[in-house]
């Protein structure tokens, strides 16, 4: 039994703190907004130029001038502000955003991250991902523990070193997968540490699906 996407999002939401400004990536990270604890003030940043992102609009109330970074229609809140892309990335690069939660293709034991290109395939671009991981104080990756290949085999995504082109070096603080949670000492030489196991998952199972070296210091 591993965690579902919803359970991974709920676990990621535990990283939120009252008063945080947070940028959420596409996919499972987006689901984190469903698990913001009641009474906690968290403002979501959308890098196309908005702070204080509201829920999707009701049908018929979509406004083409109001979209998020995934180009989805959204709504404003009483706390909302709008700004240019330069101001938006000033916020991000300048370290004013508390937390970035995003997906990944590969993460290395030292915190290196690859999530924007696969050589030989059509490259769509890095968007704001490189700016986010370079500038945001704390970077949390939420991803499946292994990649499922077309031929049915599985490849580890937690590696000794990423073999895909990097998005950033020594940028990831925490990795949440469907099997468990890892802390990374991105500034020092502490490497990767397994701190939580998903329901019904054993350390042995994680070891068999992880290429990166890691220590174990379970908190649950």
């Amino acid at each position: 039994m591993a965690w579902t996407r919803e359970q991974m999002a709920a676990r990621a939401a535990k990283e939120l703190e009252d008063g945080f400004y947070v940028n959420l990536g596409i996919g499972i990270p987006t689901l984190v907004s469903n698990y913001i604890p009641e009474g906690m003030s968290v403002q979501l940043q959308s890098e196309n130029g908005m702070l204080g992102m509201g829920p999707f609009p009701y049908e018929g109330e979509e406004d083409p001038d109001l979209i998020n970074a995934g180009k989805q229609t959204i709504t404003a809140l009483p706390t909302t502000s709008y700004f240019s892309s330069a101001d938006s990335f000033g916020m991000i690069r300048g370290g004013h955003i508390n937390l970035s939660i995003l997906g990944a293709m590969q993460v290395a034991g030292n915190g290196d991250l690859a999530n924007w290109m696969i050589p030989g395939k059509m490259v769509k671009g890095m968007g704001g991902a490189m700016d986010l991981v370079a500038g945001v104080k704390r970077v949390v990756v939420v991803m499946e523990h292994v990649a499922k290949n077309k031929d049915g085999t599985e490849s580890p995504k937690l590696l000794k070193a990423c073999d895909l082109p990097l998005t950033g070096t020594r940028v990831v603080d925490l990795v949440i997968t469907d099997l468990g949670v890892f802390e990374i000492d991105k500034k020092g030489d502490g490497g990767m540490k397994l701190i939580e196991l998903a329901d019904g998952v054993t350390e042995d199972e994680i070891r068999s699906k992880t290429e990166a070296d890691f220590t174990v210091a379970l908190k649950n």
Partner: protein, 246 residues
Amino acid sequence: MKKVYTDAAAALAGLLHDDMMVMCGGFGLCGIPDELIEAVRLSGVKGLTVVSNNAGIDGVGLGKLLDTRQVRKMISSYVGENKEFARQYLGGELEIEFNPQGTLAERIRAGGAGIPAFFTKTGVGTKVADGKEIREFDGESYVMERGLFADLALVHAHTGDTEGNLRYRMTARNFNPMMATAAKMTVAQVEHLVKPGEIDPDTIHTPGIFVKRIIDVGVRDKRIEQRTTRKRGDSTPAAAAGGGTH
């Protein structure tokens, strides 16, 4: 000096030439100068280097200039939504320079502000930094990026006055304000053209000094790329985020 022109073709008259660099405002299809792009298409100008965060979608926005092969090179952060783009790129017909989105925004801001280069943490240790100067400040490594200044900038604003002062609406602001500052000539299309004094000076985003020509295009029939809604009566705070990689 009269800044108001009757239509997009008149506003671009004498400004277009082959192999020029054009900046184009917008994020996805939000806040794009669609009428001006259409006039560029009709002009037949080619060999363009286009600076724009995205490349439109097939047949819409910059997608129109790709269909007609008028673009030689794109400088963008994300171009995923366009089949014709992919075909030309994979076929070697179109060049692309990927910039991290914040680096792109800052390159344009810097170019408009007379700053030839700056240092940023973004991209250090990645392909983006290949061949670029790296310098250490306060124990951390930064990569040097150049300011960008174009021959022409095309922007879209919600409201403008006849002096060229502009105000944008919601997330349609995005790259438009920086681009308005970063070209030899800036042409703006606005949905509402008003007299000087009708925009509260405290709410002007782009001062008129940056805008040389302006046209009134009326309220646009805008395309939505990802129409996403929730059901009435649904009390859960539906997920509304979605950035990170786009």
